[in-house]
């Protein structure tokens, strides 16, 4: 038996090209559906882990999916916005801690995330280099964002105009980079974080300009009437917040009326969470509150449906490939008829010859299967990290 197996192995080794093609086919037949399944399962776990770590999301009524994607992954653009009053409302309810988010603006193609310091505590984000944002006009960068922007503490980041055709729009704000966060392997790595108030300055809701009561601004004064001063368009407005002009920055109106895209609500306990959910169920509510976990699971159900079609397709292709491999083996038997006859003539029994041919096939299948198993293990171990690196590069 050992000699038969040796002969089979030598045959496979000698016809290395044919054997390699057959082994590769077997490997792919096994690996493709299994590996895809592993990848999708891992993705789903990671996706839901960020959603599960975010108890409740509140935003303007509209698509719950867009709200979750915008708030968790800073991806989909949210056209419907709510106001900061909703964050105050949640805080005042005593049921949850409110973390407002304003994800609207970009620096190049990276999202500028306006939030409060509570976000960093909640996500466990720590500063690796420099310090945390302290004053208006400062920003901290995710690890990958720092690489992509090629800057770090002491550098600057400029917000991108929303539309190049909006000539009368808000000037880009030059922000001071004061820190870079530790890598978190999450969408936070690609974000530029600013204080919520800085995001409002980017929008133009807060701004700094010359003091109209001072002589230096006399040229910009159109008229005075009592305590009212009207300025003309020559009034110098600042597009960078510095120590010198910081005091001139101010906001018009109540901060509670200012826009945000979402509020992350972190209930103090489970009961508080349920009560909070109930409070936003009325038809008259202009806001929606969602559990990101549920929204993402619904989305994953759709993804899994698509996946099952893909797997079915792969299985069909695999079956066809398998049939082709069997055909190749059968055809090779016909080509090897003289070789087989020689083996019989020199004393090999029919059973022994059949065992030899079968051993060759088994070797190909076993090696192919082992390679597929190895690839699956590698996918399990490094697959998500590799794609993550690809995504964040």
């Amino acid at each position: 038996m050992k000699d038969t197996l040796y002969l089979a192995w030598r045959y496979v080794a000698y016809h290395r090209v044919k054997s390699a093609i057959l082994i590769a086919s077997i490997t792919l037949i096994v690996f493709l559906p299994v590996g895809l399944n592993v990848l999708v399962t891992q993705s789903a776990e990671q996706l839901t882990s960020r959603a599960e770590a975010t108890p409740l999301l509140l935003g303007a009524k509209g698509s719950p999916l867009e709200l979750a994607l915008n708030s968790l992954y800073f991806d989909a653009e949210l056209t419907a916005r709510t106001t900061h009053a909703e964050a105050t409302r949640i805080d005042d309810s005593g049921l949850a801690r409110a973390i407002p988010l304003y994800v609207r603006f970009r620096a190049r193609d990276l999202p500028i995330v306006g939030t409060t310091l509570d976000y960093f505590d909640f996500r466990g984000l720590r500063v690796a280099e420099g310090r945390q944002i302290a004053i208006l006009g400062e920003c901290v960068l995710g690890a990958q964002a720092a690489k992509l922007l090629g800057t770090g503490p002491g550098g600057n980041v400029v917000s991108s105009p929303e539309s190049v055709f909006d000539l009368a729009g808000v000037y880009p704000l030059k922000m001071n980079v004061v820190g870079v966060l530790e890598r978190s392997f999450s969408p936070d790595d690609r974000a530029v974080f600013v204080d919520l108030k800085t995001a409002w300055v980017i929008e133009g809701l807060g701004h700094g300009h010359q003091d109209l009561t001072q002589p230096q601004a006399a040229g910009a004064v159109l008229g005075r009437e009592g305590n009212t001063i009207q300025a003309n368009a020559s009034l110098v407005q600042y597009n960078e917040i510095t120590a010198e002009n910081r005091d001139s920055f101010h906001f018009h109106g109540s901060l509670d009326d200012f826009p945000i895209t979402a509020v992350m609500a972190v209930p103090h306990d489970q009961k508080s969470g349920v009560i909070l959910l109930g409070r936003y169920q009325g038809d008259e509510e202009r806001t929606q509150i969602v559990r990101p976990e549920v929204v993402i699971r619904e989305l994953l159900d759709t993804v899994f449906t698509v996946q099952s079609f893909v797997v079915a397709g792969i299985l069909l292709v695999s079956a066809a490939t398998l049939a082709t491999a069997v055909l190749v083996l059968l055809l090779s038997l016909r080509l090897r008829r003289r070789e087989i006859e020689t083996l019989v003539k020199i004393g090999g029994s029919r059973g022994r010859v059949a065992f030899l041919v079968l051993s060759e096939a088994v070797i190909v299948v076993v090696v192919g299967g082992a390679l597929a198993a190895g690839l699956t293990l590698l996918t399990h171990r490094f697959g998500s990290a590799a794609i993550r690196a690809l995504l964040l590069s």
Binding site: R131, F185, K197, L212, N227
Partner: protein, 315 residues
Amino acid sequence: MRMLRSPLLVLLAGLAAACGSEDSERQAADTAAGPTRPLSVYAVNHPLAAMAERIGGADVEVTFPAPPGEDPAYWSPLPEAVVAYQGADLILLNGAGYAKWVAQSSLPASRLVDTGAGYADRLIPLEETVTHSHGPEGEHAHGGAAFTTWLDPTLALEQARAIAAAFERARPERAATFRERLTLLEEELLALDGRLDGVAEALGDAPLIFSHPVYQYLERRYGLNGRSVHWEPDEEPIGREWRKLERLLPEHAARWMIWESEPLTSVEARLEEMGIRSVVFDPCASVPPEGDFLTVMSRNVERFEAAGSPRDEGR
């Protein structure tokens, strides 16, 4: 298009999602270390720091980092000082827009304690507000409310209660102790209120001039008949300011001018010549050379009591 993109985007984004948050670990560590160490409390002015110290005692470590002599209302801290505030367990705000730097800084919302939230509807709007307009936004004002709220002891009392409530939330196991200390502070503040009532009774409706527009709450609480000018104790007023005062006196025949601190001798002498006595009532926004907010307030009352009443003084 969006519908087609979304599952793929989410799938890819999911691959980039965090493997887990350290938040729970940090919270657990904080909880474990928390009760064994004093609560770190930062305040935006001295009265709040003083009240926090009285209520918190050894259970809190109160910091008010503004340099002595600097007016905390207009102090502009360096980013490093703001970062120090960020590290506190609780940050005591005065409310009424006090300490402008707060609005321009990033402070953790969950650790802010607005001690003035309870009387937000009783704030006094500033009169000298400049309204201006530029661009399509229309008119807007940079005004606000008077912010020296603690000069009304009843408002200070509400601030003290807000501080005690915040301490109780942070250290529920020490709630009884905080309440006991709050009761003592309440007694002191009410006693101060009673003494100021006595001073106000002696003053009656006698006209007063305040050297700075910071006494609005004192004026309202005790029904004082005051008008404010804008003089600094350590500066000689310019001629225009003297003329403004001379024009004011016929309609508001004040015999006392209330100062935040001792005025220049030359200014005091010239006022004396005009029949106006200088009396110091220190608002005590920043750390006093000795004592604390309550002892300074007590000295303020003593100075008023010693000065008698402007009604007794002839012109």
